[in-house]
Assembly symmetry: C2
Homo-oligomer: 312 residues x 2
C-alpha cells in the first residue's frame, strides 16, 4: 500500500467497513492477507479506466468510479467466481476529482458487498482508476474461453448494444437520453454467472469489446467456429429497443457496440430449456472452424465491423 492513500483512507474505511471472512489483514498495511478456504481457487483480474478514453470528459466522476468497479467485477462473472475483495489505484488530477471518483467507488463496493482490501491514491495529469478484483470459485469449476466444443449452443445473458447507444446519446449532447443509463450503470451478471456454474457450464466470456470480437476470442481459444444467427439477434429485447435506429445501425450496435458486460457462453443442447427459463438468449451454435460467422436464412453473410481495439 502506498501511504499517499492515508489522506482519504479514513473516509474509505468508514464507508467500506465490510471485511470478507477470508481476510486476515485488511486495508491499512503494506499489503492485505487472506486465507483461501480449502477446495477453492483464487480468481484475480485487473482493469483500468482512463478519463477521455473509457468515459467522456464531461461525465460525472462518481459515475466513472462506479463503472470502473462494476466493469472489473464483470471479469469475475465471466469466470464464474464470487467477488470477495478489491484493491484500488486512483490517479487523480486534484482532490476534488479524487473525492468524486471515491464517491462512486464506495457506492459500488457497498452495492456489490465487496471488501476494499487496499490501494493507493496518486496525483496524475490524467484521472484514471485501476481496479484489481479477487474472488473465489470451487476448484476446477472456472469457466474459460477455450472450453467451447463443436455442437455446443451459443448463449447470451444480458443486453447488448444499449450501452453503445447510450454513449452515442451522451456524445451527441443528449445527457438525459433513454439509453444513457445503460452506458453509465454497469450491472455485472454475477447471479447469472452462478447459475452457469450450477449447470457446470465450461465456457464463458464477458462482452467488453463487442459481441463479435469477444465471440472471436472464444472461437480462437477453443478452435471452434461460432455461428451466430441473425434471426436470433432479431429476437433479442435489445433489438426491439434499438429498432428506431434502423436495421443496419441496430446490428452495428449489437454486434460491435462494446462495453455491454453481458455474458457470452456455450452450453450443451440439453440445457436449452433451463437456460431459456433463466432468461438467457440463444444466439447460435459451435461448429468446425476457428472464427465467427454470421448466418441469415441458412447462409453465411459478410460482416466486417470490428469492436473497439486500443492501439489497433
Amino acid at each position: 500500500m502506498n501511504h499517499e492513500f492515508d489522506a482519504i483512507a479514513k473516509l474509505f474505511q468508514q464507508r467500506t467497513p465490510l471485511q470478507h471472512p477470508t481476510t486476515r489483514i485488511g486495508n491499512g498495511d503494506d499489503a492485505s492477507t487472506h486465507e483461501i478456504p480449502q477446495g477453492f481457487e483464487l480468481v484475480i483480474s485487473t482493469d483500468t479506466a482512463v478519463q477521455g478514453v473509457h468515459w467522456p470528459h464531461n461525465m460525472g466522476l462518481d459515475i466513472a468510479g462506479n463503472r470502473a468497479i462494476q466493469a472489473a467485477l464483470s471479469d469475475l462473472a465471466a469466470m464464474g467466481a464470487k467477488p470477495a475483495w478489491l484493491w484500488l489505484s486512483i490517479m487523480a488530477t486534484n482532490e476534488h476529482d479524487l473525492q468524486q471518483m471515491s464517491h462512486g467507488i464506495v457506492q459500488a463496493c457497498q452495492q456489490q458487498a465487496v471488501e476494499l482490501a487496499g490501494g493507493d491514491t496518486v496525483t496524475s495529469p490524467t484521472n484514471a482508476i485501476n481496479v484489481t478484483v479477487g474472488g473465489l470459485i470451487q476448484k476446477n469449476k472456472a469457466m474459460r474461453r477455450n472450453n467451447a466444443v463443436i455442437d455446443d449452443d451459443v448463449w447470451l445473458f444480458g443486453d447488448v448494444g444499449l450501452s453503445a447507444a447510450g454513449l452515442n446519446q451522451w456524445l451527441d449532447g443528449e445527457h438525459d437520453g433513454t439509453f444513457v443509463p445503460h452506458f453509465q450503470d454497469i450491472l455485472p451478471q454475477l447471479e447469472q454467472s452462478q447459475s452457469l456454474i450450477d449447470l457446470a457450464i465450461k465456457c464463458c466470456i464477458d462482452i467488453s469489446d463487442g459481441l463479435l470480437q469477444d465471440a472471436g476470442h472464444i472461437a480462437k481459444a477453443s478452435q471452434v467456429g461460432i455461428i451466430i444467427n441473425i434471426e436470433n439477434i432479431k429476437l433479442l429485447p435489445s433489438y426491439a429497443k434499438l429498432q428506431h435506429l434502423g436495421d443496419e445501425q441496430v446490428l452495428k450496435h449489437i454486434l460491435s457496440g462494446g462495453e455491454d458486460y453481458a455474458l457470452l457462453f456455450t452450453a450443451p443442447a440439453k440445457h436449452q430449456l433451463t437456460l431459456s427459463q433463466l432468461g438467457a438468449f440463444k444466439l447460435g451454435h459451435c461448429a468446425q472452424g476457428s472464427s465467427v460467422h454470421l448466418c441469415y436464412d441458412g447462409k453465411t453473410i459478410d460482416y466486417n465491423i470490428k469492436g473497439f481495439d486500443h492501439f489497433a
Copy 2:
C-alpha cells in the same frame, strides 16, 4: 483481462513464460486462477507509478517499467511474503512508449522470477503503470505495522537517502551521477525479508515515503514511541556515502528522502547479534508514546522534515 492487451500479449507471454506452481489458469483469459497451498495465506498489494510524478519525464521508460515492478514487490517484502504472481495495467500514450515500458517490466519479471498472470494495456494521455503483486506466506506469519512493542529495537535493512540523492542528480542534469542508479534500480529486500520471517519478526514496513514518515506509521499503528538515535544514523554506510553533501543535507536525505525501499522493522533485543551478522543496522528502540523522536547525545531534538505526501 482487457482484450486491448492482446496486441502485445504475445510479446509478453513469449518473454515471461514463467508460471507459478499454484496457477491453474494463467494470462490470457478474463482472469487468472490460483490454488493456494494449505497452511499459507495469500498476500496482495497494488501500486501505481505515473510519469512526471513518480519518475521524471526524461527518464527511460524501460527503467520506469522495471522500477514499478520492483517497488510493488517491496510491499511483499515488508509483509514477509514470497512473490508469486503479478497483474499489470499499462497506460501508454503511444505504442512506442508501451513497448519501452514493457521492456523494463519483462526484465523485472524475469529477474525476480514472478509470473505475469494477467493485465491490460490502455491508451492514456499520461504514461502510467499499475502493478498488483501477489505472494504467499505461512499462516499468521505476516509482519505488520501494528506489532511493535515497547523495548523492541528498531532496525534497518538496506540503504536510505541514496535514492533521493540520485533523483536530485538526475533533476540537476547529472544523468551519469554516482547516485542515479540508486534511484533507478530498486532492489526490494526480499531475501532479507525471509530472514526476518525465519526469526519470527512481527513488525516491519518498507520505506517508500521516507524513514521518519514510515517510522511514524509504525509508531501510530503500534501505539509505541520510536526513538531514532542520530549516533546510529551517522554509522550507516549511506551516511558516509553522502557526507560530501554536508551534515544537514545528509540527514535530510536519510530521514525523509523517500523511495528507498529499505525495510524498517522492530525486534526483541535477543536478536541483536543475529541481525548485525545479517547486515541489518540498529537505529534505536521503541518506548512509550505514539510518535517518532530523534535523539542525540541522550536528548530529544527537534526535526520537522516530512516525507513526500501526495495531496498533502
